[in-house]
């Protein structure tokens, strides 16, 4: 399943070199240098509009850098051919704030959607009629604790359950890196902590790299091994949580950048 890509087995999982993103003249990210190694668990923090979502979108290739380069698993997604880019993106699973599930489909199909990159089209089409690989879906849903919802229509689930379906979708994808863009911003604190623990467990068990953007600083400091702080599109600091002081955090979220 995890076909190793050339140059992907060794070295960093993600590399940004002077990467920046500008949308219609507005700078979302500028001049970012970042290297994330295999198995690292990284939290990206910063105020709203700091560029956290843009960073995640850069890493999975949803957005192309307008300057600099972004390399994921040894592949420069924005320059690679369609086939190579797709093979690389199959190795990267992403979880979103708004779950981004298809509400009209049953849970089993939404989970199987994580597999579509590896399936031929006929299998994908047939699976909509009669779900395929249900045993794997069941195992993934069991892991996230909602195996009883296998046949439920996704629109009937609660927010917390939907986010678990999204995690199960990433589980069946068996990626080498998991990205999460504000995965708990739409959930209440207790559910949020459970989802973050789940993601960390998965990452530790399989040695998967985990990069999560978070609004909530205490969750980030308590549960991750590396903190990347963004403000106004630039990386402010990048260090282990033990080295992040109260003042660092206050500075980061201060209304006006100091100095």
């Amino acid at each position: 399943m995890t076909a190793r890509l050339p140059g992907g087995s060794e070295g960093p999982v993600f590399t940004l070199r002077g990467a920046g993103v500008r949308y219609r003249g507005v700078t979302a990210l500028a001049d970012c240098d970042l290297e994330i190694g295999a198995g690292e668990r990284v939290a990206v923090i910063g105020p709203s509009g700091a560029g956290k979502s843009s960073l995640i979108a850069l890493l999975n290739g949803s957005v192309a850098p307008t300057e600099g380069t972004v390399t994921a698993l040894g592949c420069e997604l924005s320059r690679a051919g369609a086939g190579a880019a797709r093979r690389t993106r199959r190795q990267i699973g992403t979880i979103y704030q708004h779950f981004d599930l298809v509400e009209e489909l049953r849970v089993v199909h939404n989970v199987n959607a994580g597999r579509l990159g590896a399936w031929p089209f006929w299998k994908a089409a047939l699976s909509l009629v009669r779900p395929r690989d249900v045993a794997d879906v069941r195992r993934a849903l069991d892991r996230v604790g909602i195996v009883e919802k296998l046949e439920a229509r996704t629109s009937t689930l609660s927010g917390g359950q939907k986010q678990r379906v999204a995690v199960a979708r990433v589980l069946v994808q068996q990626p080498r890196a998991i990205l999460a863009d504000e995965p708990i911003a739409s959930l209440d604190p207790r559910l949020g902590a459970e989802v973050i623990d789940l993601l960390n467990d998965i990452s530790v068990d399989a040695g998967t790299t985990l990069v999560t953007s978070l609004h909530d600083v205490s969750t980030a400091l308590g549960r991750f091994e590396r903190i990347v702080a963004l403000r106004a599109g630039r990386i402010v600091f990048d260090r282990p949580p033990a080295a992040v002081s109260r003042a660092d955090v206050d500075d980061l979220y201060a209304a006006e950048p100091r100095g």
Binding site: I92, Y96, H98, V102, H109, A113, G117, F121
Partner: protein
Amino acid sequence: MTDTATPVATPVELREAAGVPVASSRRGGRWWGLVGLVVVAGSVASTGWTQGPLVRPEGFALVSDFLGAALAPRLDADFLGLMASAAVSTVAYAVLGTVLSLVLGLVGGVLCAEVWWLEGRHGAARRRGAAGWVTVRGLLVLPRAIHEVIWGLVLLSVLGLTPLVAVLAIGIPFGAVTAKVFAELLDETPRRAYVAALAAGTPRLAALLYTLMPSAWSDLLSYGFYRFECAIRSAAILGLIGAGGLGFQLALSLQTLDYAEVWTALYALILLSAATDLWSSAVRRRRAAGAGSRDRLITGSLVAGAVLVVGALWWVQLDLSVLVAADTWGLVVQIVGDAWPPELSTSPADLARAALVTVAMSVLAIAIAFLGASVLAFPGASTGARSPARRLTVGLTRTVLVVLRALPPPVWALLFLFVMAPGLLPGAVALGVYTLGVLGRLMTETVENLDRRPQRAMAAHGVARPVVFCYAVVPAAAPRFVAFGLYRWEVTIRETVVVGVVGAGGLGLLLNEQLTAFDYGASLTTLAVIVLLTAVVDATSAGVRRSLR
């Protein structure tokens, strides 16, 4: 109707127009109103009503004979058997044409969708995508601009008298329209799940199937039923030009002036059309109310649809071999050779006159329809009061509207040609009467969906009902009426050509004469003028609607 304000959803049939914005700008409204009046006045003048009698005196005797036969249609077993078999053929053509259009529309819709070509592409790949998108959209403009009857006439010249003509003539233009509508549905569906699937390395087609299709599917289904309703009418019209079925029998009976037979055919047509109309709107209403696949009516309708498709295939026994036959392609090559380069064997002045007649006919038709429908929309809307008298009014008005739209415009035209001097007037009246039926339904639904709170508030402080009507109902309904009227004008200009085919004048008549004279070079010129005129009317209507927004 519930008390709460229901948001006015765009009816699925209006998706063909590029969104119907609601008029609100006062100044723009007055200015366009004036222009509209001048155009209508010009069209009335062009009917030549000052130059001679519009009504044929001898026509009245014919009409009284004709109307007299209404109560004595021919009902013997032989003829009824013939009618039944003709009706089944018409339904079968409509079913197969709809299926073809849905298949073409599904494929074309994906290929016309912005989301397919542009989403998640960057740099050079995005530029290539944009080029592909524009190309496919451009390719679909032509089949959409040509009315199914013209497709029918052209296909008849190539394929001869085969049921395939009717199926293709319905399927091709309907398919192009369906593609446009489906592409818009896909583009309007929230894309986050699609983007997420692409980010996980999912191939585009599989991503589309899992993320956008499940949401767009039910709308496509509703639209399919609406298309079937249109296809029944088209199949009947195609019969008039020789493609068989009810329309063909009707034309035969009209030619022999056998009114008893004509009435049997008309009753059959009205029944068929009204039944599909009711079925289709019931399914669409149920879907709009959010019913899922568990709904009995919808499940039943889907099963019935499948049965109809199989039955139609068995009944028609399509002979697809003509499509690959050497003779057919030889004829195509010959016709294309004759047609290219287009010729001006009809003088430019005659062509211009025919074009003007066509425009005048469409303007008169839409004026008649708009006035009539605006008046009938209010008694036809079932709001509030539930008294028996009120219910009777609603029922009667709706029945009138259903009957008006049950007979396709060319059939109305043939009927009006009995009584009126040939020219653009019978064509305009025929089209106007039919469009009145269609517009009436749209406007009735608009009135029913109006926010009722302002009316209640006014009535609560003692304002008399007629005043409430003038101050709360009319101002809210009028802008939507205008938007619907303009949209139907775009449809009417296409149908003007069809009415022309049966003899009401204009470009349709000209094209029919040229085609029957095998003058393909001149036909191509006329066809080009028709397409151009359609494009001009579409652009004008869209422009007016935009400026009124």
